[in-house]
């Protein structure tokens, strides 16, 4: 009986801690968003974060997208060949990339790059008193450190996903035409005939949400880090893990909302 009560109490504490954490992150996000509409605005910091996310993440996102498109073409071809549906390869590639794999894989790649980098940078600023120094220099740390990054992430990831979609489809086209024997014109026609605007737009909406999540968790984990170098390391890990899980969870929710009929 005592053991059962202990387990229940432990479960209760865990749930309460989760709820407390979720509430704290929500308040953090709300405060950061409120700074986006109140001056002063730090355009220079926004641009710096935007270049860091959009430009410097481009190689890793591009490579991931190309190889994913190539693998997708190969896998769907060999799978569909079992019931003579090889002709659907182009459709499967484009729908998978634009609706799911483009935004999710770009989000996960950016979580690894940017989420970790933001958490490490802001965490180091926390443990070396730089965040306190901002306050003593009449600068709100949320406005200076968090708000520009949040905005940059939310805008940059959809742009990265446009590139990822293009390169992913191109990867499928390369394999389709060079290895699987499709005619180039027929492959492209099949790709664009079945593609609808909503397939692309839904992916871009997801990307904006994922960009927000990645930058939010990077900033949150860094902002609340402590305990010296080890604390910064923990914050970095937490930023990548939490944003990756939240990307996958929110992907399900967004898909359920956007594609439920």
């Amino acid at each position: 009986m005592d053991r059962a009560l202990d387990l229940t109490a432990g479960l209760g504490r865990f749930v309460l801690a989760m709820l407390r954490g979720a509430g704290a992150v929500a308040l953090f996000a709300a405060e950061a968003i409120s700074h986006l509409v109140r001056p002063p605005f730090y355009g220079r910091l926004f641009l710096k974060a935007f270049v860091e996310i959009a430009w410097f993440s481009l190689p890793v996102v591009a490579l991931t997208a190309v190889f994913t498109g190539m693998v997708l073409a190969l896998q769907s071809y060999t799978g569909f060949a079992r019931f003579n549906a090889e002709g659907a390869v182009a459709n499967v590639v484009v729908l998978s990339i634009t609706r799911e794999l483009g935004p999710v894989l770009a989000g996960l790649m950016v979580a690894g790059r940017i989420g970790a980098a933001f958490a490490a940078e802001i965490g180091t600023m926390r443990v070396t008193d730089q965040i306190d120094a901002l306050t003593t220099l009449s600068t709100n740390p949320m406005k200076y450190l968090v708000a520009p990054r949040l905005l940059a992430g939310t805008i940059a990831l959809p742009l990265l996903v446009v590139v990822a979609n293009t390169l992913g489809v191109m990867g499928g086209w390369i394999i389709g035409t060079q290895q699987l024997g499709f005619a180039s014109g027929a492959y492209l026609k099949a790709t664009f005939d079945f593609l609808q605007a909503w397939d692309v737009i839904s992916g871009l909406i997801k990307a904006a949400v994922f960009g927000f999540i990645v930058t939010l968790m990077g900033c949150w984990c860094g902002y609340n880090s402590g305990g010296g170098a080890q604390g910064v390391g923990r914050a970095t890990t937490a930023a990548v893990v939490s944003s990756s899980i939240l990307i996958l969870a929110s992907d399900y929710l967004l898909t359920a909302v956007m594609f439920s009929r």
Binding site: P40, D129, Q130, D132, T135, T136
Partner: protein
């Protein structure tokens, strides 16, 4: 402001972190235009006192007045206006490593749009000269500076906006004795030139005598002595005298696990 009203007045300041009581009713007056040194061992509550005055930590209880006004009763804008008149030198410098030295020095002026970026470079060179650094240092990154240079840049950043209250957190910690004396001399010069009120926390007795007009000692979260900094070491207070002389035997017993 009237000379009778202390620049900073603390009454019953208390702060605990979980079960650990760090401040247990701190009472202290800091006179305008004077330099106050707060002494105390590690973990005695010096830094927490400073952070409470700066608004970086919210005290559990007690009163903090600046120029006779209770900071807890101020609106956010009023509190920001008070902070605008405060400069701070952090123990480890806390320079922004993503910015060059000149932007660090003029950070507050740039953040408040009180100066253009072009004018900020000239202003930084002027302030760096006041702390004995060449204008060329302005183009370096903080990571390229030695410990003493980082302290001087931190001091330049603290005085660039010409504050009327300046806080110094362990200004000579980690420096060799000569560089410590240089920093102390710069602090005294800058504070005099600005006519500012200075509050320093330190456990370096030589530094305390050099930069302080007044001194107070905090022990176990309370102010146990206050007086002239020049009398340190011969105050008649056993706690202060043991601390000032660095003696192992006395009323202050270090908690060492054997």
């Amino acid at each position: 402001m009237s000379g009778d009203i202390p620049k900073i007045r603390l009454r019953g300041l208390s702060k605990s972190f979980g079960p650990k009581v760090v401040l247990d009713g701190v009472d202290l007056d800091i006179r305008a235009g004077h330099s106050m040194v707060i002494l105390g061992g590690s973990g005695s509550g010096k830094s927490v006192t400073l952070k409470c005055i700066l608004g970086l930590i919210t005290p559990d209880a007690g009163l903090i007045e600046i120029d006779g006004r209770d900071v807890a009763a101020m609106t956010r804008r009023e509190r920001e206006a008070v902070n605008d008149r405060i400069g701070m030198l952090f123990q480890n410098g806390a320079l922004f490593d993503s910015l060059p030295v000149w932007e660090n020095v003029c950070f507050k002026l740039l953040a408040q749009r009180r100066i253009t970026r072009r004018a900020a470079r000239d202003k930084a060179a002027e302030v760096l000269a006041q702390v004995g650094l060449a204008a060329s240092v302005g183009d370096l990154s903080p990571a390229e500076l030695s410990g003493g240079m980082q302290k001087r840049v931190g001091l330049a950043r603290a005085i660039a906006a010409e504050p009327d209250i300046i806080f110094f957190d362990e200004p000579t910690t980690g420096l060799d004795p000569i560089m410590g004396a240089v920093i102390d001399g710069l602090i005294v010069d800058c504070v005099k030139r600005l006519g500012a009120t200075a509050v320093s926390i330190t456990h370096d007795m030589a530094s305390a005598r050099r930069i302080g007009d007044d001194a107070a000692m905090i022990h176990k979260g309370r102010i146990v002595w206050r007086g002239a900094a020049a009398t340190l070491g011969d105050t008649g207070n056993a706690l202060v005298d043991q601390f000032a002389r660095g003696e192992r035997e006395g009323p202050i017993q270090m908690e060492l696990r054997k």
